[in-house]
């Protein structure tokens, strides 16, 4: 049987095809064999993360002069899909570094900040993190309780408070932190800072035990009179919320790609299984109830892909692409939940067993509906942009 390459709204260049094939080969050899083991232990696969950095996976869109590969958003989407298809946890680390840390530093950082922090993260030398959420503040960032207070001399901000759900929190060496500098201003009082994790007053809190993406460590961060020099302020005071949301637009394209990768792995496994497994004297793929599942899975998978490439093209061509990124993330993450659910159903007991990766795909898919804006928030973003009403 011939399998056509997925239809895309653009023709892939030789460079894109080579990149996709190289990442696919790397993921198959280096990530797939140990993915179940890292999922079980919850350890961070630092060795493969380092190798991903050496290849250029940690700074795909960052220009070469800042340690990156200088490629486009299409390349980023292709690479994310391949890594996520092998293991979602690896792609989570990659997504944070690329979309949330590098993008913020490149777009809003000073030249000195880029040289000191962007080069280190984009070249894969250091792992980055993005810290917005707090124990009592998630989607409603304006209610955050952490504070940064400028000292009298105007040289340092003193930061106090707790942040939670920080992806790569236990291992990150460069952290983009959002905290309140003008509480009376609500979300306009949030500012962004670069945190050096080796300065006093910084501590990593408890590591979160999670349902999925277990090899991507998540933790709290604790700031206790942490002194942050003013040169580590990103952008202007009060610009934090805008910076955070701009990064999330880029990030959502990454999460949509991650969802596609997880879904594609589950779909391909289901296709193989439905062709081979026999019941009642025939291949289960010959039963119409299984055929219905396959048709729905494939349709949603390809629709996710088209929406995600659409968002990537929008990012490359237009300054604002919030709606496109939200639609891609919303649809692809819900499709990934549907597809991984159906994949387990097709596999029956084998799908429920840890002998096969189907149950891991299902657990990993769930996070894509939650982080970088829940499905509910995506719907708000899309509808408000469409209606022009707040």
């Amino acid at each position: 049987m011939t399998t056509l390459d997925p239809v895309l709204p653009i023709a892939l260049s030789d460079e894109h095809v080579m990149l996709r094939d190289a990442v696919r080969d790397f993921a198959r050899r280096e990530i797939v064999p140990s993915a179940a083991q890292f999922d079980e232990s919850g350890d961070v696969p630092l060795d493969t993360i380092r190798k991903m950095g050496e290849m250029g996976l940690m700074g795909i869109e960052t220009p070469e002069e800042y340690g990156g590969a200088g490629m486009d958003t299409i390349a980023y989407v292709l690479a994310m899909i391949e890594i996520a298809k092998a293991d979602a946890s690896h792609s989570t680390v990659m997504s944070v570094n690329n979309s949330l840390v590098n993008y913020v530093l490149y777009k809003f950082g000073t030249e000195a900040q880029r040289q000191k922090y962007l080069v280190a993260v984009a070249s894969g030398e250091k792992v980055g993190a993005y810290s917005l959420t707090e124990p009592m503040s998630g989607s409603d960032a304006a209610t955050m309780r952490s504070r940064a207070v400028l000292n009298g001399a105007g040289t340092h901000y003193t930061i106090n408070g707790r942040k939670s759900w920080v992806t790569s929190g236990p291992v990150a060496e460069v952290i983009v932190l959002f905290t309140m500098t003008e509480p009376a201003e609500g979300h306009r009082g949030i500012s962004a800072f670069l945190i050096d994790t080796d300065r006093p007053g910084f501590a990593r809190g408890k590591k979160e035990p999670k349902l999925g993406i277990r090899a991507s460590a998540t933790s709290e961060l604790v700031f206790d009179n942490y002194e942050c020099p003013v040169e580590n302020l990103i952008g202007e005071p009060g610009m934090g919320f805008k910076i955070a949301m701009t990064a999330l637009d880029a990030g959502r394209i990454g999460i949509a790609s991650q969802a596609i990768g997880i879904a594609e792995a589950a779909y391909e496994a289901s296709l193989d299984y439905a062709r081979q497994r026999e019941a009642f004297g025939q291949k289960i793929g010959q039963f119409q109830l299984i055929q219905q599942k396959i048709a729905d899975m494939k349709t949603r998978l390809e629709a996710s892909r088209l929406l995600t490439f659409n968002a990537a093209l929008a990012k490359m061509r237009h300054p604002r692409y919030t709606t496109e990124a939200s639609m891609a993330k919303l649809f692809a993450s819900e499709a990934a939940m549907f597809i991984t659910h159906q994949a387990i159903q097709i596999h029956g007991g084998m799908g429920y067993s840890k002998e096969l990766p189907l149950e891991r795909y299902f657990r990993d898919a769930k996070i894509t509906e939650i982080y970088e804006g829940t499905s509910e928030i995506q719907r708000l973003v899309i509808a408000r942009n469409e209606l022009g009403l707040r």
């Binding site: 260049s13 030789d14 460079e15 080579m18 990149l19 190289a22 080969d25 790397f26 190798k51 050496e54 290849m55 250029g56 996976l57 795909i60 070469e64 590969a69 200088g70 490629m71 390349a75």
Partner: protein
């Protein structure tokens, strides 16, 4: 200080190989870089980094071999050359060796030629010996470690895997070597390498460019056709018994009866 690494695209080892009614071999459309060559390419790049050498990657074959050459460029080879000419279609290993040797001579300043251990599709390494012979250079096969390399003094010392153990061998340069799995951990292409490779036009050297005539492309051996192996017939028999010991005793009896033991 110029190293040439020779590569060949081969059918994917996961491909299902079959033979059609006309005796033609079918191994799928997908070709991959010979897995053995990946070690040779990486070793050449490691030598390049250590000795500031130049690395040329070379393949003999039609356009689909460009993929292996671009893979080499993406990992860090400095230039790629594809040798091909319609007259080479269906070549045997000796013709292949003549073409490689002529290309090495045309490059002029190559002092080390590197191959992967063998071609996995036809399970042969004859072309490596033949290339060394055509060049008139020493051949150091099955190298598991390059212990010393001195381009200025024109010497190389390698560790070879032989049947009973290892052998350490010194040779003068120029030389031809073939490397084993385990000599290094193969490198992956970098994205910057991929960007450069995808923009590189790979020159094609035909017979005339190599100074060879049509007679040189005449092989001495030709594959006339392939046949499938006869289907193996087998049956499974489950041995029943009251206990494991009982089952084992019955199994041993049967194995004696069948003269397996």
């Amino acid at each position: 200080m110029h190293i040439a690494v020779i590569t060949k695209s081969v059918p994917d080892t996961e491909a299902v190989v079959s033979v059609d009614a006309g005796g033609k071999l079918l191994a799928g459309d997908k070709l991959v870089v010979n897995p053995w060559d990946e070690y040779a390419i990486t070793e050449a790049i490691l030598l390049k980094e250590a000795h500031k050498a130049k690395v040329t990657i070379l393949a003999v074959g039609p356009e689909q071999h460009n993929e292996a050459l671009k893979h080499g460029l993406a990992i860090g080879c400095d230039q790629a050359i594809r040798v091909w000419d319609g007259a080479l279609e269906g070549h045997d290993s000796l013709v292949y060796a003549k073409a490689v040797a002529a290309a090495i001579q045309k490059l002029g300043d190559v002092t080390l030629v590197m191959f992967g251990r063998e071609l996995p599709d036809i399970a042969s390494d004859a072309h490596i010996f033949q290339t060394a012979r055509k060049l008139g250079w020493n051949l150091l096969g099955s190298v598991s470690k390059i212990e010393a390399l001195d381009f200025a003094a024109k010497t190389i010392r390698v560790r070879r895997l032989v049947e009973q153990g290892t052998e350490v061998l010194s040779s003068r340069l120029p030389a031809v070597i073939s490397v084993l799995k385990g000599i290094n951990e193969p490198k992956y292409p970098t994205f910057i390498g991929i960007r450069k490779a995808s923009k590189t036009e790979i020159p094609v050297w035909g017979l005339s460019a190599l100074g060879l005539d049509a007679a040189a492309a005449q092989g001495q051996a030709a594959v006339t056709g392939y046949r499938e192996l006869p289907k193996r017939e087998g049956a499974v028999e489950i041995i029943e018994g009251a206990s494991a010991q009982d089952k084992a005793a019955k199994l041993v009896e049967k194995l004696f009866a069948e003269k397996v033991l």
